[in-house]
């Protein structure tokens, strides 16, 4: 068990005024068996009235609508949580067993799985760790080659990627192996930005595994959102009107 303080802020700036701006943020960490929120506050500027819901995957959604002209949208979340990975989450959904938009394998990824599956034996946890290690031996962590639209198959061709890509490829492999898996977006000590990792279903509960670091998840990780893949976990989604070039500038995230 560990008490962790978290801080995350993002600043969206536009090079021209925008209006009729609808947004949905998935930034408030869910309260789960593994993490208890001791405190949490979300600050959005300019001031806007917001509503909270919980989506199908268990994520807290903060929705708002900024009608008038504005040039930026900032949000900042801070709080403290008690994290205890000896306690397990059990919020299973059958859709996690099936490939989704980002994880659908192409022939190359299927072939890779066929090559390594002979060695993939043992318990579900052992198989997951094996697949994670096989991935770490094949794909290199390197920024600048992929973006948020890159699928598992595309990143696998490049043999390079960031945490999001590692997560998508591992989820794809796990699902091919008949193991239900989900995408996690969150914060971790080892990373200065938001991080992403994977949870696999043991048949009884979820276990976290971090493919970008090829290690198991411990109390140094805070979950912000979960879903079938990145699509369900985007921290912010928005639609606005005006002539502008959107810019998302991540300011910082800290765990302490």
């Amino acid at each position: 068990m560990k008490q962790v303080n978290f801080y995350y802020c993002a600043k969206l700036t536009f090079d021209d005024y925008v209006h009729n701006h609808s947004f949905a943020l998935r930034v408030i960490p869910p309260e789960t068996e593994t993490q208890r929120l001791l405190s949490c506050s979300l600050n959005i500027t300019p001031y806007v009235s917001t509503q909270q819901t919980v989506d199908a995957f268990g994520n807290n959604v903060t929705a708002g609508y900024l009608k008038g002209d504005h040039r930026f949208l900032d949000f900042e979340i801070k709080g403290a949580a008690q994290v205890d990975h000896t306690k397990h989450r059990t919020d299973y959904m059958p859709c996690y067993l099936y490939q989704s938009q980002y994880t659908k394998p192409d022939e190359a990824l299927k072939e890779f799985y066929e090559e390594i599956k002979r060695e993939c034996t043992g318990t579900i946890a052992e198989r997951a760790e094996y697949l994670c290690a096989a991935l770490a031996n094949t794909v290199v962590y390197e920024k600048g080659h992929t973006d948020t639209d890159t699928t598992a198959a595309e990143a696998f061709v490049l043999k390079r990627g960031v945490c999001q890509d590692f997560s998508h490829i591992l989820i794809s492999l796990l699902r091919m192996d008949g193991i239900a898996a989900r995408y996690i977006a969150g914060l971790a000590f080892c990373d200065g930005e938001t991080h992403s990792w994977v949870e696999f279903w043991t048949g009884d509960h979820w276990e976290g595994i971090d493919p970008a670091n090829n290690c198991l998840v411990n109390d140094d990780y805070i979950v912000i959102s979960q879903g079938r893949d990145f699509r369900d976990c985007a921290i912010d989604r928005g639609v606005m009107f005006g002539s502008y070039t959107k810019q998302l500038q991540l300011v910082r995230s800290i765990l302490s």
């Binding site: 009729n20 609808s22 947004f23 949905a24 009235s49 509503q51 819901t53 989506d55 199908a56 995957f57 959604v61 929705a63 609508y65 009608k67 959904m93 059958p94 859709c95 067993l97 099936y98 079938r228 369900d232 989604r237 928005g238 639609v239």
Partner: protein, 445 residues
């Protein structure tokens, strides 16, 4: 045979040209995209009505109410406990591989637990008089406006036909639709959302809005604030919408939940819907229940949820997914009709009898490679109906789309859209495939 006063048909037939001219003038059209080009087509009307006896209609009505009630139970179950999967009635794969299943809708309960408010159930009558279900359409089926307006015009052209025969008035559809929308209303005005005049069902949207006293809206007039859906009024104010009738596909409905590139959706509509602040007619995620693969399981659903025997039969259907069925399909491919479960509107339908030996072989391989993608059905020898062609009457294949509305109670509209194939060799009657339509007369006794 049905007892109708002599001469009435002939009068109607004599007026066919006049009625079609009126339809043209009223703009009764449907749009179709072919090779990326939008064309509006005239939907040809045939003056000889299909007549359904009171007795036949009574059993069809009971069967349809039963079927739609079971489908609504199924949808609730799939997005909540999934008992039918746990109990082994429907294999898990059929649910989660279906394009119509939306994980985003898990746990959402629409008002009064109704998912399919307007169901279009396609039936055919076989030569022996038995009715068979061909397909369920639970994602706002179109077509109700055509028999409505055709009836209106026939009344003008041949008024005696309605005085001298006991035909159930079909003008109650507007009231029925209004009732159904009101039952789904979460507080506010009724609105019909149209993607605009380049949409296949634009005529229908505007016509239904007028009939039901709903506001016809486009997405740029709508916005969600504090998880409530509003209509922007001309004076700069806002009016709350309590129920939204839409024919836009689920994945285009909210760019913040589904396809981000959708320009015809309403951002955060899903949040308003999830919060129970707006009813959406029909509900999102219904595609999982009208999937051609799921069709096979509907009679089982009726037994499972209602504990009743199905009143209306499915066409005999085989799922290559099951080993026994695969064997049957392989052995009888040349006499079966094969449907691609992902296609709609008469596309992806192949008759084994139309294929050459080589094509049959090729198709066998495709089915073996992707068994989940296809269903196979026996070809039903359906009753031909007379249509007027030039100066003569010829017999053509026809089906019936019955409209079932689920409000406080589930009701069947005593009319429907009878579509026929103009091609004498074709069984495919979809309007997008060049077919025409007839009025459907349900007799009161």
């Amino acid at each position: 045979m049905v007892q109708l006063k002599q001469g009435q048909f002939m009068q109607a037939v004599g007026n066919a040209a006049e009625i079609n001219e009126l339809l043209r003038r009223y703009g009764v059209k449907f749009g179709i995209y072919k090779n990326g080009v939008f064309n509006e087509q005239f939907f040809p009307f045939d003056p000889i009505p299909r007549v359904i006896t009171a007795e036949d209609f009574c059993s069809i009505e009971k069967g349809l109410v039963q079927r739609v009630n079971a489908l609504n139970e199924f949808l609730y179950d799939i997005y909540h406990e999934k008992k039918i999967v746990h109990d082994g009635i429907v294999p898990e794969d059929f649910i989660y591989i279906s394009k119509g299943y939306l994980a985003e809708c898990e746990g959402i309960t629409p008002k009064n637990r109704i998912y399919s408010h307007i169901s279009g159930i396609d039936l055919v009558q076989a030569k022996d008089g038995e009715w068979y279900i061909l397909e369920d359409n639970l994602r706002i089926p179109s077509g109700a406006s055509y028999p409505l307006i055709a009836r209106e015009l026939t009344r003008i052209a041949a008024p005696n036909a309605f005085e001298e025969n006991n035909i159930v008035d079909n003008r109650g559809y507007a009231e029925l639709l209004k009732e159904t929308m009101e039952n789904a209303n979460c507080g506010g005005i009724r609105a019909i959302l149209t993607p605009g005049r380049y949409n296949a069902a634009y005529f229908e949207h505007s016509y239904l809005a007028e009939l039901t006293g709903s506001v016809l809206v486009q997405n740029d007039e709508l916005f969600v604030e504090d998880n409530i859906l509003y209509h922007r009024t001309y004076s700069g104010g806002k009016t709350r919408i309590g129920v939204l009738y839409r024919r836009i596909s689920d994945e285009y409905l909210d760019p913040l939940t589904f396809l981000p590139q959708s320009l015809i959706g309403i951002p955060n509509l899903m949040e308003a819907y999830r919060s129970g602040n707006v009813g959406i007619v029909n509900a999102l995620g219904n595609g999982v229940a009208d999937d051609k693969g799921i069709y096979y399981f509907v009679p089982k659903m009726i037994k499972y949820y209602l504990g009743e025997e199905p009143i209306l039969k499915n066409a005999p259907t085989y799922l290559p997914f099951y080993e026994d069925d695969m064997k049957y399909v392989m052995d009888h491919l040349e006499t079966l009709v094969i449907k691609d479960v992902a296609e709609a509107g008469g596309y992806g339908v192949v008759f084994g009898s139309d294929l050459s030996k080589e094509k049959l072989e090729e198709f066998r391989k495709t089915i073996i490679a992707e068994p989940r993608r296809f269903i196979a059905q026996e070809v039903i020898d359906f009753l031909d109906l007379p249509i007027v062609e030039g100066n003569e009457t010829v017999m053509r294949k026809a089906d019936l789309r019955a409209f079932v509305l689920s409000g406080e109670k589930t009701k069947v509209w005593a009319s429907g859209l009878t579509r026929f194939s103009r091609n004498p060799d074709s069984f495919v009657v979809n309007s997008s495939q060049g077919g025409g339509f007839k009025d459907t007369w349900v007799l009161s006794r």
